[in-house]
């Protein structure tokens, strides 16, 4: 063999040594056009019992790396019987609803309060969509018709522990509602508090585009909380439309008329992807987090409180007695100004210190024993270069693996579950578990000493480790993902799966279900 031929051979080998691994990684990352999330990832039993063979409809015993075979695996899975479909996990309440709402979803332009129009989505012609008010115990029925959202849409009841069939996740608990179709959601509003609803189809575009609204569940009449009638209520729904920060759709200072001395409970909702800070011109009390009242919260001064993406805070402020107004800032650009008509509130700069909810309020007994959990899961968030469905880039990982090889957390109804969430990346992540509320046990090994702190959307900052606990009391197939919705699109999404539950819905396919 001549010298030049040898050289060419070596060059070819060296080129293949680079190209083949890359091509293999690229090919292995491809996600089939349609798949069931049941077949996704690696089963993680968290040290709990594993179900008998055949009781689970997971495609294979583990690695979903070769997604190309997924269709076949699902066919095999369908031979197992004895499973409950998520479609059958509906509310037991029947009869006429206490609250009935009809919504029409449209794609086009959102008109801000300033008159400026931005491209986006509306519900009944507005964004935010109509606020839904219910009382604790009410049966809520919402029918949404998709007038013109071309990708299809759904409604997810963020923070409400609804039955799985009504969770509104396209491709997991339902098919996306196509243009011209409608879908009805029914659930009992069991927990009084502040919630919101939003599309969970192409959510990284539709939510920031305006397809959302607020949901408030007021305490039942005659309940202890309802008796607190000398407090009035205000809403502060924060959203950024095409870079413009708004509260309730309005920019800048948003007036709220209240009498001098009046106490106002402001329900603050962060519908954005990133966290924001909330602070007031006077002392304030954080009454509730993510729909759960805190125990004996104390007045806060000179501190802001973090409101992460998807989360809610009920904040009580008092209108000054002297006829002036008080300012409640939600981020630097917008503030609710609470006071008599025409009153002004002094400017107030953002405090440098932040309130730590880990030690805020008074401790109380938890409704379940967390000392001996049935299952302990790790949700370790990382980031590395690679291919995500064929696209090169830097993508999120869960427990070291990239989507779709993320863990599938398996539980059995009644389990006490502890989850350790670690953020090993340089960005913060608002972690959102569907269908459940978890209580924070510790952060970075420091045990919670304040009021029980229940969350459905928890800010996990870089290098932080949170330990949270919840009871598996709502059977179904639930997303457990980052509510910085573009992050979910970039692979930061896993699922919680109950034994014996199966879904007939598929991601992708002709219906083009794309939950992220």
């Amino acid at each position: 063999m001549s010298r030049s031929r040898l050289r060419l051979l070596l060059a070819c080998l060296a080129a293949l040594a680079i190209v083949i691994p890359l091509a293999w990684m690229w090919q292995a990352s491809l996600v089939p056009a349609t798949y069931s999330v049941m077949d996704m990832g690696t089963l993680d039993y968290g040290g709990g019992p594993e179900p008998a063979a055949g009781a689970m409809d997971h495609g294979s015993s583990g690695d979903m790396g070769d997604m190309g075979d997924m269709g076949d695996m699902d066919m095999a899975g369908m031979e197992h019987g004895a499973t409950t479909s998520v479609a059958d996990l509906v509310t037991k309440a029947d009869g006429p609803p206490d609250v009935a709402v009809d919504l029409v979803a449209a794609q086009g332009e959102v008109t801000l309060a300033s008159g400026r129009k931005v491209p986006g989505y509306t519900l009944n012609g507005t964004s935010p969509g109509p606020q839904i008010d219910a009382r604790q115990g009410d049966l809520v029925e919402v029918t949404v018709r998709n007038e013109s959202v071309t990708d299809g849409m759904t409604l997810h009841w963020h923070g409400v522990d609804v039955p799985n069939a009504d969770d509104g996740v396209a491709g997991v608990t339902q098919d996306a509602v196509a243009v011209g179709e409608e879908h009805t959601y029914r659930f009992v509003a069991e927990q009084a508090g502040t919630y919101w609803y939003h599309s969970h189809q192409v959510s990284h575009e539709q939510v920031i585009g305006g397809l959302f609204g607020a949901l408030v569940v007021h305490p039942a009449r005659g309940s202890r909380n309802a008796a607190d009638s000398d407090t009035v209520e205000a809403m502060a729904v924060a959203h950024t439309y095409s870079g413009t920060r708004t509260l309730n759709g309005e920019e800048g200072d948003v007036p709220f008329v209240a009498e001098p001395g009046q106490r106002v409970r402001v329900r603050v909702v962060n519908t954005d992807n990133g966290p924001t800070q909330v602070w007031a011109g006077g002392p304030y009390v954080v009454r509730a987090v993510d729909g759960y009242d805190l125990v004996e919260p104390t007045p806060v001064t000179d501190r802001s409180v973090t409101l992460t993406g998807g989360a809610r805070l009920d904040i009580e402020v008092a209108v000054p007695d002297d006829g002036s107004a008080v300012r409640l800032h939600v981020g630097g650009a917008t503030a609710l100004v609470l006071g008599p008509e025409g009153s002004v509130a002094p400017e107030v700069t953002q405090p440098t210190e932040k309130l730590d909810l880990l030690s805020y309020g008074s401790p109380a007994d938890l409704p379940f024993d967390v000392s001996d959990p049935d299952r302990t899961f790790d949700y370790d968030i990382g980031r590395r270069p690679g291919f995500l469905d064929g696209r090169p880039g830097l993508w999120w990982t869960v427990n070291g693996k990239m989507f779709p090889d993320v863990p599938m957390y398996v539980v059995r109804e009644g389990d006490v579950v502890v989850m350790r969430i670690h953020n090993g990346t340089s960005e913060d992540h608002p972690m959102h578990l569907h269908g459940h509320h978890a209580v924070v046990l510790s952060r970075d090994g420091v045990a919670a000493t304040g009021s029980p702190w229940w969350v459905d959307s928890l800010a996990v900052d870089p290098d932080e480790t949170y330990e949270i606990a919840f009871v598996a009391d709502n059977p179904g197939l639930w997303m457990d993902h980052c509510h910085n919705l573009p992050h979910a699109k970039e692979g930061l999404v896993a699922h919680l799966m109950y034994e014996g539950v199966d879904t007939p819905y598929r991601v992708g396919g002709a219906l083009e279900n794309q939950p992220e």
């Binding site: 080129a15 870079g243 966290p275 993406g309 650009a333």
Partner: protein, 151 residues
Amino acid sequence: MKSAYKVLAYLIAALVVVQSAAMVFAVAGLGIWVEEGGVLDAATMESEPTFTGALGFMIHGMNGMMLIPLVAVALLVVSFFAKVPGGVRNAAVVLGLVVLQVALGLFGHENAYIGMLHGVNALVLFAAALFSGRAAAKADSMAAPRTAATV
């Protein structure tokens, strides 16, 4: 292959120029926007703000994390065939600097001083890409007359 090598190496240098232009475009636009009353926090950052220059952040991210690494890998593959003296070594150095640059860019989100190194390494990478391109151009021009002579 020598010309392919040359084009890819110069392309990397050009893309590094795009990177620095995009970043200053973005930061300048951000400054003007803040001066005009815009308020920046994480929620705004995550919502893809629309001020003039905001596109620069996106261009910087996509160009830096996807396009440049791909071109650098292509340069290394081409270098095996291009018979440029020191060409493989140069291409490997360029790819190494690209990997380092992406890492410095990411860690810059944790530590601003690392961001400073990201700026320094950008110039090193630019110089290395230019040097590689020139070496290939030189080899090309030396090879060309010889090829002509044999015809």
